[in-house]
Symmetry: C2
Subunit: 395 residues, 2 copies
């Protein structure tokens, strides 16, 4: 019996465990201080009324033999796939139901989709990056090429025609940097992918935060993208589903490689290794896409966007370089005074009682940068920014 | 860009689509006849009161900021892992929480667990078999060796010391044959696996149907199994969760290969490519393991076992050779009169208005055999067996 030895090449991540340890130590020494957590990417607002009403109704259906539901289609119920197509329609993107696959979340799909590609592909990944892109490819033994995000390109790396790539990861609005690609920039990426016969895995988990109508909220708003991109969406940040688990992956029928429709490969993968999302959860997800659900969901996203704005405005006032904070729940800032990511973590904790996330945890290019998240309580965010400004200006 | 060409070697399965087509044709020709479906392996009884009450309560928690739950641990909430350990305790099996991984179902885990093993392993699979074992390994390009289930061994193939195997699939009570391994037989399998340094993937999805106390309902009831077996459980057939999606995989800490604990590899796989089961579903699953939940669940399983008994007794009376029907929801029978699997399908549909599953759909050794499932309505099962007996005896 041989294990998959690629797993042994994975680096242990001490990012979030390291943060937890430092917060704990600080709390023990300073029991009277309340720590404001702007680190984690988890939501805090409860599920909307539309969603919980729909789920209660679905629980009732499951409790009666007449309305009970057993196995559903692995790729999701028609009612939900139809609702997602309707949502895309409002973005000006036409999809058919069989191009939409309902899943238990973007993280699962981002990992599992790699199953349909050969090991012998070169993967292009931005740095800094959501670590799952890297780890899932190391597990499969694929060659990874990094592209640099930095202050010069606003953490929005662009394609280099001399770089070979078969699988390309893009995330916009980005985690961790909050940066958002423009339509022109995504057009360049689509051109590059088509020229290289590559496939873009477009992580669109933060699309609900895009409010600027000039910015793309789906890669399929770009001509030609259906021939080179898989898009992965999620209700985690859109509707507070981090603990409720529902997302979707779009694999257009036009996406053909080596004469084979990737849609048929993904369908085969999902019908073989997945048994669908719980009926109750799919009914909750459907409710997100109703008019009332959209209104309630938008309110939640607005709340987080206001937090982001408070953080971004404070940084601007303090003259601190940053990306994100608009059209995104994340703010990515250059640590003031030339501090390293972890030095700034300690500094922020001590001077402002605020816990954030050191940028170095997202890759080499993250060193000297720092991520703040807008998913907290508004009063806390205001307090955090006041503490921070006061500490920095000595006020 | 290269696709995973192993996918192109997968056979299209026309089993269930073929069945659906034949039923439809028959219904069109005979609109007045009610077809009794004893083919599919899906449950029909609603979720128990314990489960739906717990889920309603959890929906309420999700609707309030104070009790809302975001991301949970990928491997499942402590409360559920603890409940599963308690369930195993009653089987005389001691597990620690960190050996239990909550999942969205056995099918997902049976496919995904292969990620932690090298491609270069030989896989031993029984024939007839649940097709997922075969397809997931074809997708990964692994070499498959089949072991024969047949009437001589009661469809319970035993190890052959001359056969090399690294990964071994066992399912008991078995789908599709309903046959159940004895303790002595599983001891032989554990001995063989230990001698070969192999890992048994023990599909235990039907353990709740084992009522004979001499029969094992977990491979860990066999000495040494923790050193050579992963066990995959499910609430699908135990508690009617086919559309509610919750299962678990046990990877004992003692299970070490190439100096590496498989538990740590699986933890890494799950934390990287999975984000846990919905909180609401985990609360429903927890309720299955309470005393009242166990009582209600047992009632449901009893109902299906009574159906199985009705089918098995009819076959015995008619002198038709079969396995299963006790300690199992499936009955596997030799087609009477030397009919092929599909001939008998047509015969049964026409003479008794009963739809079952042709054994040939589960592998070459299934030809000439047929699967009936006990998951239907009791009155229907009684009617089906009366129709069948009458047709066969010309009564």
């Amino acid at each position: 019996m041989k294990i998959n030895r690629h797993y042994l090449r994975l680096k242990e991540s001490y990012l979030f465990s390291g943060i937890a340890k430092k917060i704990k130590e600080y709390s023990v020494k300073n029991p009277d201080r309340k720590i404001i957590r702007l680190g984690i990417g988890d939501v805090t607002l409860p599920l909307s009324r539309s969603v919980t009403d729909a789920m209660r109704e679905a629980v009732s259906e499951m409790s009666s033999a007449e309305t009970f539901r057993g196995y559903g289609e692995e790729q999701g119920y028609e009612f939900l796939r139809q609702a997602i197509c309707g949502y895309y329609g409002k973005k000006g993107v036409t999809l058919s139901n069989d191009e939409v696959f309902v899943s238990d979340g973007a993280k699962s799909d981002l990992g599992n989709i790699l199953d349909i590609f050969a090991k012998d592909n070169t993967v292009l990944i931005p740095d800094p990056v959501y670590p799952v892109y890297v780890d899932t490819n190391i597990m499969a033994g694929r060659q990874i090429v990094y592209m640099n995000g930095n202050a010069d390109n606003g953490f929005l790396p662009m394609p280099d025609k001399n770089t070979k790539a078969d699988i390309i990861y893009l995330c916009s609005p980005n985690n961790p940097t909050g940066a958002v690609y423009s339509k022109n920039q995504l057009e360049e990426w689509v051109c590059y992918a088509l020229a290289k016969d590559a496939v873009i895995l477009f992580d669109n988990a933060y699309e609900a935060f895009v409010r600027d109508e000039d910015l793309p909220s789906s890669i399929y708003q770009i001509d030609g993208a259906k021939k080179c991109a898989v898009e992965i969406g999620s209700l985690s940040k859109t509707a507070g589903f981090t603990g409720t688990r529902c997302g979707y992956t779009v694999v257009p029928q036009e996406l053909i490689r080596e004469g084979t429709a990737l849609n048929s490969l993904w369908l085969r993968r999902q019908t073989t290794k997945f048994n669908g999302v719980p009926y109750i959860i799919q009914r909750g997800a459907e409710a997100v896409f109703t008019d009332e659900g959209q209104r309630q969901t938008r309110e939640q996203v607005d709340y987080y966007l206001q937090n982001a704005d408070i953080i971004a405005k404070t940084l601007t006032k303090l003259g601190i370089w940053h990306t994100g904070g608009q059209n995104s729940p994340y703010i990515w800032l250059r640590c003031p005074g030339g501090m390293s990511s972890w030095e700034f973590f300690d500094y922020l904790l001590k001077t402002a009682n605020v816990a954030g996330t050191p940028g170095a945890g997202f890759g080499a290019n993250g060193e000297g940068f720092f991520r703040l998240s807008a998913f907290g309580n508004k009063a806390d965010v205001i307090q955090a920014m006041e503490n921070f400004a006061q500490g920095l200006t000595g006020g």
